[in-house]
């Protein structure tokens, strides 16, 4: 698919050399001209389409380049942008600290940075297939505790930082990494419950999964924001980030459960029967025989669920948590940067894009390796 630009470009074939005299293909069939002919002008209709697109490029690209690169302001205070006709990229250096770290005390931001690096490193480390062992669970546990220590402080001589001050990209990453980690086992339990032979357990799982999948995430977040405090006994309060995190976990788990169920259904009955005839009990059968196979089949769609979960953390901005989207939005209410929403949103869109694209490419690579080839 990506290599088809090379498919027609001429490489001297071995056989033509043997026949004594080398016959070169006509110049119009090789090199750039051949490629153009094969890929852009291969039929009258395609020729017309190509010309129309090139004309649109001619109309759109120069003004865009002028706006984004030539007339743009790259640094300095916002006053340098006023009245200019180009993009105000000076927004980025002026606001990047707040957008990334939120209200985290500026002297302590290195801690938030380290916490982020630990999270990224843990996720990247888990990407390699040969590391999918029990020891990985301990790596995650240790790293989660480390992240907690760095963010919260209070011990090892670190200044305590209230969780209300956590924000920006740090919060987005925290919500998604913890959300994914907690939702995954919960999703597996739900999937097993849905496949259970016990009718009440199955019914409860079905009701839970279908109810959660039927409503938008924002209704769960509202629930966590306005309804959850009513559920708790008098005097007990749970902080807002934790409540939103719970909503995200409960939501993501339902989607993971459906993906895992697909994997469980794909395991042939013989596997279950073989495991049972070996004398394994239910938990041994699931842990040693069924789940390792089922989970492997559904890795690509699982990564898909995780990508959506990452993007969906942006919804906490609606219930006034200062995640990446919300910190960016709040810089725009600053009179100095008001009106530069395009530049600001392009900047954070780029951050989201890089993360999602990395995960999606990883999933595609894995799909090729596993030869599953199916994604849904």
């Amino acid at each position: 698919m990506k290599n088809n630009e090379n498919s027609r470009t001429g490489k001297k074939s071995e056989s033509s050399l043997k026949s004594g005299e080398e016959i070169k293909p006509p110049i119009t069939e090789t090199g750039i001209i051949g490629w153009l002919k094969a890929n852009l002008f291969n039929s009258p209709l395609n020729t017309i389409i190509t010309i129309i697109i090139l004309f649109c490029f001619y109309k759109i690209i120069p003004p865009f380049v002028k706006w984004a690169f030539i007339d743009s302001v790259w640094y300095g205070p916002s006053s340098g942008c006023q009245g200019g006709s180009g993009a105000c990229w000076a927004y980025v250096p002026n606001n990047i600290r707040f957008v990334i770290f939120g209200l985290f005390p500026s002297g302590e931001q290195w801690r938030a940075l380290i916490a982020m690096l630990i999270m990224v490193a843990t996720v990247v480390y888990s990407g390699k297939r040969e590391r999918w062992k029990t020891s990985l669970i301990y790596v995650w546990l240790v790293n989660t505790i480390l992240v907690g220590i760095f963010l919260k402080g209070g011990i090892l001589g670190l200044e305590p930082v209230e969780s209300t001050k956590w924000g920006g990209l740090v919060l987005t990453m925290l919500l998604s990494v913890i959300g994914m980690t907690a939702a995954y086992p919960l999703g597996i339990v739900l999937a097993l419950a849905r496949r259970s032979k016990m009718p009440t357990i199955r019914t409860m799982a079905v009701v839970y999964i279908e109810m959660i999948r039927g409503v938008p995430l924002i209704s769960l977040l509202f629930m966590s924001a306005v309804m959850f405090p009513l559920f708790l006994p008098e005097g007990v309060t749970i902080n807002k980030i934790f409540r939103a995190q719970t909503a995200i976990i409960l939501f993501t788990a339902a989607y993971i459960a459906e993906v895992v169920r697909g994997g469980l259904q794909a395991i042939p009955k013989g596997q279950y029967e073989a495991a049972e005839s070996m004398g394994l009990n239910y938990f041994q059968m699931m842990r040693l025989v069924v789940l390792p196979q089922a989970l492997k089949i559904v890795i690509p769609p699982t990564v898909g669920v995780l990508i959506s979960a990452f993007k969906d953390t942006s919804l906490v901005a609606i219930i006034a948590l200062y995640d990446l989207l919300r910190t960016c939005q709040s810089t725009l209410s600053d009179p100095r940067w008001m009106g530069f929403s395009t530049e600001a949103y392009i900047f954070i869109a780029l951050i989201y894009f890089i993360f999602c694209y990395a995960m999606a490419s990883y999933s595609r690579k894995l799909e090729d390796e596993l030869g599953a080839g199916k994604s849904y």
Partner: protein
Amino acid sequence: MDGNKIKEPIWTNATFRSVIYQVAAMSMVALAGYYLFSNTQANLAKQSIATGFGFLTRESSFEIGESMISFSSSDTYLKALAVGALNTIKVSFIGIILTVAIGIFMGIARLSTNWLVSRLAAIYIEVLQDIPVLLQLFFWYGIFNNVLPSPRQAIIPMEGIVLCNRGAYFATPVEHPVFTWVWYSLILAVIIIFFLRRWAKKRQEETGKIFPLITASTIIILAFPLITWVIGGAPTEMEIPTLRGFNFQGGYNISPEFGSLLLGLVLYTSAFVAEIVRAGIQSIDKGQREAAESLGMKPLFVMNLVILPQALRVIIPPLTSQLLNLTKNSSLAVAIGYPDFVSISNTTISQTGQAIEGVALIMIMYLTISLITSLFMNWYNHKMALVER
């Protein structure tokens, strides 16, 4: 263990165990439910918040920016929620039509033999999929508010179309009784096509003759309203939006809220639909096309009778789930102030304090939509299931 013992102890009996597990699970859920319920009761009593849906018939006393039915602040909460529900349906309905159209177009473009077209489609799909839909909504809302000029300096690309920070304005035909009849004739045309299809299918099954259904349907659906319009005197007078005071008057207005919500939802979802369409078309084995062609079928029939029916079986289930996602994502309207169902429920919650009822209403609304969709899906899967002989 004594192997000769025939009577097993009751705790190793599978049925007994399963009953115990189920009773345990149910009592745990019931206990947790009771605990939450009693806490909630105590909290509500302490904060003296009323319960029940009695508030629905009270006066809402807030205004709604845009509404398909007339609404004023003296109307009830029930009516306000109805306005919200209609707005949700409106944006979802228009969004779904546009999403399917753009998605199919982009999915086919992705498979184009033209390198430029397929690359552009790939970029479209990749970029829009990987940016959160809420961010996209904010982006377009920001474009409406910060980039587009005020009504006085509005952009007028052509007569009858106006773009400014108050939204987009389009010229509309001046009201005329003929247009009512045009609508009737359109409905009539749809009914006729429905029966024509049945007749054509029956005739083909009996005689093998193929009726040019697509051509005929297109002609009927265009000609009927057109003829009605001409007979009615062909009124061409247009209502052109004009600047009066600080804003434009006349014509059809797409508010910045509705415009950015629709744009964000459609662009985001259509990228996913494009991927689904591409996968669906690619899932059809090349041999199917070759076999159909070797039977001497015309290209159009190859597509309509061989490729599409098989590709649709792959496409429809994930497509429905994407369109359902669009409907659920329309709830993000609350973030940019478009008065959809969630947004109005939210206002209701903050005015009455009845959070439980408000959130319950939101969930019931979307669960109903999901339920109807999954009923449709079951019906469709049943209809499209491979009939093996």
